[in-house]
C-alpha cells in the first residue's frame, strides 16, 4: 500500500514538473510574441503620427484656400455666407403619406401626386 503511494506521488511529481516546464515555455513564447506585437504597435503608432502630421499639413487652411482657388472653375467653392442659413420650414420634407424608414415598400421613387398643396417634391 505504502509502496503504491510512493510510486503514485513520484509519478504525480513528474507529471506536474512536465506541466510546469510546458507552461514556462509557453509563457516565454507568449512574451516573445507580445514584445514583437508591441514593437509592431510602436512602429505603427509612429507611422500613424507621421500620417496624422502629414494629413494636418496637407489640410492646412492656406493650402485648402489655394486649392479651392485653383479649382474654382471645376468646384466653384466659396467661403460660407450668412445667406446660406435656411429655416427648417424652407426644407422640402417627404410628404406624410410615405411609409416610415425601413418598412418594405414597392415603389423606389416618389410619386409627385403625394406632394401636399400642389407643391412639387422633390
Amino acid at each position: 500500500m505504502r509502496g503504491l503511494l510512493y510510486v503514485a506521488s513520484a509519478l504525480a511529481v513528474m507529471a506536474l514538473a512536465f506541466w510546469a516546464y510546458q507552461e514556462n515555455y509557453r509563457t516565454q513564447a507568449s512574451i516573445r510574441a507580445n514584445s514583437e506585437v508591441s514593437r509592431d504597435i510602436g512602429r505603427l503608432r509612429e507611422t500613424l503620427s507621421i500620417l496624422k502630421a502629414e494629413w494636418a499639413y496637407l489640410n492646412r487652411p492656406s493650402r485648402l484656400a489655394d486649392l479651392a482657388e485653383m479649382n474654382f472653375d471645376k468646384l466653384g467653392l466659396l467661403p460660407v455666407e450668412k445667406t446660406q442659413f435656411a429655416r427648417p420650414d424652407q426644407l422640402p420634407y417627404p410628404p406624410a403619406g410615405l411609409a416610415r424608414v425601413g418598412a418594405p415598400v414597392d415603389l423606389v421613387g416618389v410619386v409627385p401626386q403625394f406632394a401636399p398643396d400642389g407643391e412639387d417634391w422633390p
Binding site: I31, I41, R45, E46, S49, A53, P61, K82
Partner: protein, 595 residues
C-alpha cells in the same frame, strides 16, 4: 524494541546472594533508561533545530541573492506589462477646439560622423559637400574627417530623401540618430499663441524638445508629462475661424497701410479665446531670433500685439465710465450731460472731435463719442470708485491667459490716480492695456455683467464669475453700443443680420520723448454680436492705419478698424454657426425705466 527490565532476575538473585540491596539495581536501571530517553530527545531536538536553521538559511540566502542580482543587473522595462504602450512621442500634440492638429511631432534623423570608422573620408567629404552645398564646406569636412576627432555632429534634422542620399554615399562612418522634431503644420496661423520649441539636451539617440514661448512654454510640463498618456492639449481656438480672421485682418492691414494689427475674438460667457491674431507674424517652425537688445521689441514679428502690446486704446473706454455711472444710479441713458468745450482743468484742455453743442444725453455721449461728456460723468464717479471698477474689469493686473507672455502684458497705470487721470482714463488716455484686456472687459460688460477671465484652454461651460454690473446695466450698455453702429461713429460696422454693437477708439500714439504724434493713431473697434443676445466679442486694433481713398488721409477707427472688423464678422459669424437674425423691433429692445 526490547526493553531492559528494571529488575533483571539474574542480577537480583545474585545481589541477594551477595547480601546487596537489589533496589540499587532497579534505581541504576531507571537512571540508564532516563538517560537514554534524554539523549534521544536531545538528538531529535537538535535535528529539528538543524532543519529549521537550514530553512531560515535557505530563505535568507534566496532573499540575499535576489537582492544582489537586482542591485547588479541593468534595469529593464517589464516586458509583460501591456498598458505602457500609449506613449510614442515625448511631447503631446496641441489641437484646436475641434481636434485639428496645431502642433505635433515628427520623427526625423540627425546626421553625425565618426571619422575613425570611415573608409574613404575624402570621398565622404566631397560627396557630402555636394549634397548640402549651402551649409557644408568640403575643405572643412575633410579636415574634420581626417583629423583626430572621434565624433562630429553634421546636421540636426534630415528629410527621408536627404537621408537616403547620404546612405547612398555608402560610408560606414556617417551615422544617423533618431530625432523627434516639433512640427506646426499650419505654419504662421497661430504662431503667437503656440510660441515655438527647440532642442534642449541632445544625444545620439534622442533629444529633449522644450517649449520656448506661448502655450508651448506655459504648458511645457503638462505636454511632457507621461502620466497624461499622450492626451493632446485642446485649445479654445477654432482653426477655421482663425484662418479666416487672419486672411481678412491681413488684407485689411495692407489696405489701410497699417504697421501692425491685432484681433481677439472671445466667447463672452466662457471666456474662451476663439481666435487671436497679431500681425505681422512668423512661422513657428522656423522661429526668428529676438531682436538685439536696445531695439524696440514691438518691431519684431515675435511681439504679440494682442497680449503684450499695451496701448492707450482711446474712446473704447467710454462705455466703462457710462456703465459704472448707470450702475451707481448717477445717470440713465437719457440724462443730459454738459458737453460745452473745451473743458479746462488746470493746464489741461479736453476737446471733442467736433463741437457737440451745450449738452448731449448719456446715450449720445457714447454714440457721438464726446470726451467732454465722458469726463463729466467720470468726475461724478470719482477717482477711487473708477479705479475699483476698472480693477474689477481686470485693467490693473496682467491677464491670466495661459501664455508665458501674459505677465509682460501688464497695464500701464497712472502713478497717481488724480482727478485729471480720472477724466482722461474715462476716454481711454493715461491707462494702457492690451487688446486682450479690452476683450475680457467688454465680455464682462455685455454678457450680463459677470466677470470673465480670458482663457486659451477649451472650457466645458460658462464661467459664471462674480457680478460686476447688473443685468439691466449690461443690457443698457449693449443698446448704447448698438446705437453707435446704427447711428454713430461705427456705421461701417453694421453687418446685416448680425446686429453688431461696438465702440470705436482712435488714440494718438505717444511719442517716446513725451507728448503725442499728430499723424500716428492706434485705431480700435471693440464690438460684440449679436446685440440682442451677445455671444462674442471681437476687438480689432490697427497700428498706424490710414484710409487714403479720399483726398485727406482718414485715420479715425470708424474709417480704418471698423470696416476691417465688419469684414471679419461677415466671414467669421457664419463659421461660428451664428444664424443671421432679423433685428427685433426697437420696442422690444427698450430697457425698463427704473434704471
Amino acid at each position: 524494541m526490547i526493553r531492559t527490565p528494571l529488575r533483571p532476575l539474574a542480577r537480583i538473585l545474585k545481589a541477594r546472594e551477595d547480601g546487596e540491596d537489589p533496589g540499587l539495581i532497579e534505581r541504576e536501571n531507571r537512571r540508564k533508561r532516563r538517560d537514554a530517553d534524554r539523549d534521544r530527545k536531545r538528538l531529535r531536538a537538535q535535528g529539528r533545530l538543524l532543519v529549521l536553521g537550514l530553512c531560515f538559511f535557505a530563505a535568507y540566502a534566496t532573499i540575499g541573492v535576489r537582492m544582489g542580482i537586482l542591485a547588479n543587473v541593468e534595469p529593464a522595462e517589464p516586458k509583460v506589462a501591456s498598458a505602457g504602450q500609449q506613449i510614442v512621442t515625448q511631447r503631446a500634440d496641441i489641437t484646436d477646439r475641434n481636434g485639428r492638429i496645431l502642433a505635433t511631432n515628427l520623427v526625423t534623423r540627425s546626421l553625425y560622423a565618426q571619422p575613425h570608422l570611415m573608409v574613404e573620408p575624402e570621398r565622404a567629404a566631397r560627396e557630402l559637400a555636394a549634397l548640402f552645398p549651402e551649409e557644408m564646406d568640403e575643405e572643412r569636412l575633410r579636415g574634420w574627417f581626417t583629423g583626430e576627432r572621434k565624433f562630429i555632429w553634421l546636421r540636426r534634422q534630415m528629410s527621408p530623401e536627404q537621408m537616403q542620399a547620404v546612405h547612398d554615399i555608402g560610408e560606414p562612418g556617417l551615422l544617423f540618430g533618431p530625432r523627434e522634431m516639433r512640427l506646426y503644420p499650419n505654419g504662421p496661423l497661430a504662431a503667437h499663441i503656440l510660441g515655438g520649441s527647440r532642442f534642449e539636451k541632445e544625444d545620439v539617440n534622442a533629444a529633449e524638445v522644450i517649449g520656448t514661448a506661448g502655450v508651448e512654454k506655459a504648458f511645457d510640463e503638462y505636454l511632457r508629462d507621461p502620466s497624461q498618456g499622450g492626451a493632446p492639449l485642446a485649445l479654445s481656438l477654432d482653426m477655421t475661424v482663425q484662418s479666416a480672421a487672419r486672411e481678412v485682418l491681413g488684407g485689411g492691414m495692407r489696405l489701410m497701410n497699417a504697421r501692425g494689427a491685432a484681433a481677439v475674438l472671445m466667447d463672452v460667457h466662457s471666456g474662451e479665446v476663439i481666435s487671436m491674431l497679431s500681425l505681422p507674424d512668423f512661422d513657428p517652425n522656423d522661429r526668428p531670433r529676438p531682436l538685439a537688445s536696445g531695439n524696440d521689441p514691438s518691431e519684431s514679428p515675435l511681439f504679440n500685439r494682442a497680449v503684450q502690446g499695451v496701448y492707450e486704446l482711446g474712446s473704447v473706454f467710454k462705455i466703462f465710465a457710462v456703465a459704472q455711472a448707470m450702475e451707481l444710479g448717477l445717470v440713465n441713458p437719457d440724462t443730459m450731460i454738459d458737453t460745452k468745450g473745451p473743458l479746462v482743468w488746470g493746464r489741461y484742455r479736453i476737446r471733442d472731435f467736433h463741437d457737440y453743442g451745450p449738452s448731449l444725453s448719456v446715450k449720445n455721449v457714447i454714440v457721438e463719442s464726446s470726451n467732454i461728456g465722458t469726463a463729466h460723468i467720470a468726475m461724478d464717479i470719482g477717482a477711487e470708485r473708477q479705479e475699483d471698477f476698472l480693477a474689477s474689469l481686470g485693467f490693473t493686473t496682467p491677464t491670466q491667459i495661459e501664455m508665458v507672455e501674459a505677465p509682460t502684458g501688464k497695464p500701464l497705470l497712472p502713478p497717481k490716480w488724480s482727478e485729471i487721470s480720472t477724466m482722461t482714463i474715462s476716454y481711454g488716455h493715461g491707462l494702457s492695456a492690451s487688446p486682450l484686456h479690452l476683450a475680457a472687459a467688454y465680455s464682462t460688460i455685455v454678457n450680463g455683467g459677470t466677470r470673465v477671465h480670458p482663457t486659451l484652454v477649451k472650457q466645458a461651460g460658462p464661467q459664471n464669475g462674480e457680478r460686476v454690473i447688473s443685468e439691466q446695466t449690461s443690457r443698457a450698455a449693449v443698446d448704447m453700443l448698438r446705437a453707435v453702429v446704427t447711428e454713430g461713429t461705427a456705421s461701417f460696422g453694421d453687418v446685416v443680420g448680425y446686429e453688431v454693437a461696438g465702440k470705436t477708439g482712435s488714440a494718438d500714439k505717444p511719442k517716446p520723448t513725451g507728448g503725442y504724434y499728430k499723424d500716428r493713431v492706434i485705431a480700435t473697434f471693440a464690438s460684440t454680436f449679436p446685440a440682442s443676445d451677445p455671444k462674442y466679442v471681437l476687438i480689432v486694433t490697427l497700428d498706424e492705419g490710414e484710409d487714403t481713398i479720399g483726398s485727406m488721409p482718414r485715420r479715425t477707427a470708424g474709417w480704418t478698424a471698423v470696416p476691417v472688423a465688419a469684414a471679419m464678422i461677415e466671414r467669421i459669424a457664419p463659421l461660428l454657426g451664428l444664424r443671421p437674425a432679423v433685428e427685433p423691433s426697437q420696442e422690444a429692445a427698450l430697457i425698463p425705466a427704473n434704471l
